[in-house]
């Protein structure tokens, strides 16, 4: 076929490396972020957070602060507008943390107690820091531990098949081990920032988020507004990792803009982000595996626990990770929760799978050791034909292909399974492996594709590019569906006026949006093929994937991966350095190899960071963080990130129009376990508590290593 301009048909953008379409704008600084876009008459809000972990606000000394230079207003529970939290949003009932300044109760340290608005950001900050808030303090409790009092089992959080206890009793080999992961934070580079203003009777919010319709709908419900009267945009986002949904700062900005009838921006500091934007709960997990002597699993039991706030339930579903992974005669998995005087945790970088895979994949490694079976062979032995619990077929399951390819490239066959026998100077060396999985899904989305009179095309979809490269991937997908060069396609995203679409979350963004874009673009191409001229306003075709998604067959839909790591450990100082990592993934069709590889490598780097560095520390006395900044909360620095390779095997999803599964989160899954298993292989000592800190390694030592005559011994 030919397009209206007579250009020959073009396909093949999908699967070909493409630099980011907004790359030049980003590296030249032309791309503006929510915290830096100028507005006339902009006022600046600065949040004041509670300094006690539990109690009631006795007084807010607003008068003294209102006299300070530039101060326009102090919003607090005594004067803020009421909001409505009795609704069910995209991800359930809202966390009451959103409903700032609604009462005098303080449920954790870092709870918003006031917003100071001033002419400049500096004036607002100075006044906010001067604001005296008095509290009636109550005793707080932040002590997280497995099975502590108050632990409960939320509804629908347990899955059971067969009799785990009986199978454990009948097993030749039993592993029973406890693992913990600490409180972890998203720490994306760009802080949360939102500007709110009223324009021609509509509320306009310029934000940095993972879904503008998500934020717009929640704001409409909170403030009892007609959803059509709220517009949220979020053109560029410097990272999200699950933290950039609806948060206190947007709500505050809307309150202040409404009260002052002028634009108000609220930007969070790094420290404020530690208590206001969610985090991953610490977890305490127990894994029990029962196997025949050859490693065939008879029993699989995974009990996980996380904490949540006293005001909202969040379940970190760590125990879910095994439900689609390994065949076993009996299966029991459950997630438990305890409510403490802390902020509500939230979705973060593979919620559930990241901490859950650490425990499960380390346990598999320990079982392999006990059975005397190679860790990869153990996984092959327990590979299921269908969902181990559900019995549903897999849409595709190419985990073993990942292990095959990974083992070949990593040189796994040459590995000596004995721990603690490789030394290079002061370093003990080891290698480890782990499996990865992450659900593949799609959410209902709408898109509009316009054939412009000048021969170009405009795609409008309410997608979010949080650094993933989504804008570029969608440009490639639209170009292929339209059979034109990518240069003729303009993709506009992140504007709630474009209509509903799934968020950048759950590794579902690109798949969800691509489906809608493909549908509209194909319809448009067919229309254009009928001939005729394009009118000045263009021809627009819209799509909605709701119906198509509703008819998808029930299957176990997952991306899979195999993670390999080599670690060097100096047990005399406790230092652990990762030397190389290799991840091979079966994650559907890869739209843009360039950005997909970046996402996978980024995920693996987060896994490295989780294994060795990340840990937010709370002080029992105050209930708050100590060192809540990027100097205190360590993520992997460049020098920590070794040779990391990510690649993939053929795995197109036959049920998806483009074949996509999603690569957003799979990269972190299993990565920490592979490193922990490598540390064991290096030292002979199991480290079941993350991060694998120097003090833990030093005190853990090593099993009588060969080469004890080394220079440092």
């Amino acid at each position: 076929m030919t397009t209206m301009t007579g250009t020959p048909a073009v396909t093949g953008a999908v699967g070909t490396a493409h630099t980011r379409v907004e790359g030049v704008a980003k590296v030249t600084g032309a791309a503006r972020y929510a915290g830096e876009i100028p507005y006339a008459e902009l006022a600046h809000g600065w949040l004041v957070l509670s300094t006690v972990a539990r109690g009631r606000i006795r007084s807010v000394g607003a008068d003294a602060v209102l006299a300070m230079p530039g101060v326009l207003s102090v919003l607090h529970h005594g004067n803020a507008p009421r909001v409505d939290t009795d609704y069910v949003g995209l991800l359930g009932k809202p966390d009451p943390t959103l409903a700032v300044f609604q009462n005098d109760q303080v449920p954790y340290l870092g709870w918003p107690v006031a917003l100071v608005v001033a002419e400049t950001s500096e004036q607002a900050r100075e006044a906010a820091e001067a604001l005296v808030v008095e509290y009636d303090e109550e005793p707080h409790d932040i002590a997280f531990a497995a099975g502590r009092d108050g632990t409960y089992t939320p509804e629908d959080s347990a899955v059971e098949k067969g009799d785990v206890e009986a199978e454990l009793a009948a097993s030749a080999v039993v592993l029973d081990a406890e693992y913990t992961t600490p409180e972890e934070h998203h720490t994306m580079l760009e802080p949360h920032a939102a500007m709110a203003r009223w324009e021609d009777g509509r509320l306009e919010v310029v934000d940095s988020n993972q879904g503008t319709m998500w934020v717009a709908n929640e704001l409409a419900k909170l403030f009892s507004l007609d959803p059509a009267s709220v517009r949220v945009r979020s053109e560029h986002v410097g990272g999200g990792f699950g933290s950039k949904g609806i948060r206190a700062h947007q709500v505050c900005a809307v309150m202040a803009a409404t009260a002052l009838q002028r634009p108000v921006r609220v930007v969070l500091t790094r420290r404020q982000m530690f208590s206001l934007t969610g985090y991953r709960s610490p977890t305490a997990q127990r894994v029990r595996l029962g196997a025949d002597a050859d490693g065939r699993l008879r029993a699989f039991a995974h009990e996980a626990q996380n904490l949540t706030s006293t005001v909202h339930e969040f379940v970190e579903p760590s125990a879910n990770v095994g439900r689609a992974m390994y065949a076993s005669d009996a299966h029991h998995s459950v997630n438990r929760v305890v409510r403490l005087d802390v902020p509500t945790p939230t979705f973060m970088r593979a919620p559930g799978e990241a901490p859950g895979s650490f425990a499960m994949e380390c346990a598999l490694d320990e079982l392999a050791e006990k059975c005397g079976v190679d860790p990869i062979a153990l996984r092959v032995r327990n590979e299921p034909d269908a969902g181990p619990v559900s019995g549903l077929p897999f849409s595709s399951r190419n985990l073993l292909a990942c292990f095959d390819e990974g083992a070949r490239r990593f040189g796994w066959a040459d590995r000596d399974p004995r721990p603690g026998v490789r030394r290079e100077g002061r370093w003990l060396l080891g290698t480890g492996v782990a499996a990865a999985s992450f659900p593949s899904g799609a959410g209902p989305s709408t898109a509009a594709v316009t054939a412009e009179a000048d021969g170009t095309f405009t795609v409008r979809i309410n997608a979010a590019d949080i650094g993933t490269g989504a804008r570029t991937a969608l440009t490639q997908i639209a170009a292929d569906a339209l059979q034109v060069e990518t240069g003729r396609v303009r993709t506009r995203i992140a504007d709630s006026d474009f209509g509903p679409a799934w968020i950048a979350g759950g590794s579902m963004g690109t798949r969800s949006w691509a489906w809608a874009v493909t549908a509209a673009a194909k319809d448009l191409r067919e229309q254009l093929a009928l001939g005729g001229t394009v009118p000045p306003e263009g021809i627009t075709v819209r799509s909605d994937t709701s119906e198509a998604l509703a008819t998808l067959a029930q299957k176990e839909r997952y991306s899979f991966g195999a993670q390999f790591a080599e670690a060097a450990v100096d047990v005399t100082t406790g230092e652990v350095r990762v030397r190389r990592m290799l991840g091979i993934f079966a994650a559907g069709r890869i739209v843009n190899p360039l950005t997909a590889r970046s996402q996978l490598i980024g995920g693996m780097t987060w896994g490295l960071s989780m294994a060795l560095h990340e840990e937010a520390v709370r002080d029992a006395a105050s209930g708050g963080h100590v060192g809540a900044d990027l100097a205190g909360y360590h993520v992997a620095a460049n020098a920590d990130v070794p040779l990391i390779e990510a690649d993939w095997v053929e795995d197109a999803d036959a049920d998806d129009p483009v074949g996509i599964k999603g690569v957003g989160e799979i990269g972190i899954v299993g990565a920490a376990a592979a490193i922990a298993n490598a540390v064991w292989h290096a030292t002979g000592v199991r480290h079941r508590h993350l991060p694998i800190r120097p003090d833990r390694v030093l005190l853990g030592g090593a099993v009588a290593p060969a080469g004890a005559e080394g220079p440092d011994a």
């Binding site: 300094t51 500096e122 900050r125 100075e126 820091e129 420290r271 002061r426 005399t572 100082t573 406790g574 230092e575 350095r577 060795l612 560095h613 520390v617 002080d619 029992a620 006395a621 105050s622 708050g624 963080h625 100590v626 060192g627 809540a628 900044d629 100097a631 205190g632 360590h634 992997a636 620095a637 460049n638 020098a639 920590d640 800190r693 120097p694 003090d695 030093l698 005190l699 220079p711 440092d712």
Partner: protein
């Protein structure tokens, strides 16, 4: 944040006079620590006196064969200086072990000595801290202290000094020179930092209003075979959890001269004089090195979560001195 004045000064007497007239003022070097502390409200100066344009940016040989390092020499320039690398390699290594390239390009020698502890209670104005607010208490003792002091601390403060550079300077008997309104003065580094005692907010023996003008390193032939090794939680851009600056002169298996200083274990760079005395004239063996470390660390008082530092320092001293002894034997 609080509004503040900013003034650039071009001569030392002018800088000292300006500070004398403005008790609320602070000298600004690279700003890599002070500006952070201003952002978090720990420091609230009314005036910043920018000393980076003072004529103190030279490294010069002294008549007796040592080096004088100007106070505004950047960390990057210090680490790259050929005479520093030749005569005091551990000093160059220590500087390069700190911070990041960008920070080292800004940070100055004078500022490095005066940087404040990174204790998470000190840097958070919402929390008590005897160093920041005398008498408010030290929550680190009962709280988070995994990277706090094991030597020379007190019931009032267990913070550590964060400098890598200072540890090497301490090993090489550096002397700090300064200027006051009453004229110049100097302080050996061993007397520069005050004991913690019950006054952790008083950190140095510098007279009020003094401006550090430089650091003098006396000649130290032993320093040519020297090493700085830093243990940290990640491979770069992290403060030490333990570090050692060491220099060793071995002849025929006997220690003729040795220098040893520890970092991240005390409120100041910790010169290990006890270990040095034990080692001098004795055998250069791993056993002797470990025994000397044990003797130095006998005074250690660990809290529940930082006891690992005793083992870490013992291992580190033994490893680094063994390495230097092997180097000397080659």
């Amino acid at each position: 944040m609080k509004e503040f004045g900013y003034q650039r000064v071009l001569d030392v007497p002018g800088a000292v006079a300006l500070l004398g007239a403005e008790p609320d003022a602070r000298y600004l070097g690279g700003g890599t620590n002070l500006v952070d502390l201003m952002k978090t409200g720990v420091e609230r100066p009314g005036l910043l006196i920018d000393v980076r344009d003072l004529p103190l940016d030279r490294i010069e040989a002294t008549e007796d064969g040592g080096l004088h390092i100007g106070a505004t020499v950047t960390n990057s320039d210090l680490a790259a200086h050929p005479e520093v690398r030749r005569r005091y390699p551990a000093l160059a290594q220590a500087v390069l072990a700190g911070a990041s390239g960008q920070l080292r390009n800004m940070a100055t020698v004078g500022g490095n000595l005066l940087q404040r502890t990174r204790c998470g209670y000190f840097t958070d104005t919402a929390k008590p801290c005897n160093k920041r607010v005398p008498g408010s208490g030290c929550p680190a003792i009962e709280g988070e202290h995994r990277n706090h002091a094991i030597l020379g601390a007190s019931a009032h403060c267990v913070a550590t000094h964060p400098s890598d550079m200072g540890v090497a300077l301490s090993a090489f008997d550096a002397v700090v020179t300064y200027e006051t309104a009453d004229g110049p003065g100097e302080l050996p580094l061993s007397e520069f930092y005050l004991p913690v005692g019950d006054t952790p907010h008083l950190e140095t023996a510098l007279p009020a209003g003094a401006l550090i003008t430089g650091v003098t390193l006396p000649p130290a032939p032993v320093a040519t075979v020297s090493r700085y090794r830093k243990v940290r939680e990640r491979a770069s851009y992290a403060f030490a959890i333990g570090s050692v600056a060491a220099a060793l002169d071995v002849q025929d298996g006997t220690v003729r001269d040795v220098r040893l200083a520890f970092g991240a274990v005390a409120s100041r760079p910790w010169r290990a004089l006890t270990a040095e005395r034990l080692l001098t004239g004795g055998p250069a063996t791993a056993e002797a090195f470990a025994a000397a470390a044990d003797a130095e660390l006998a005074a250690a008082e660990a809290l529940p979560d930082n006891g690992y530092k005793v083992t870490l320092m013992r291992n580190l001293v033994t490893a680094v001195l063994t390495e230097l002894a092997e180097e000397a034997a080659r």
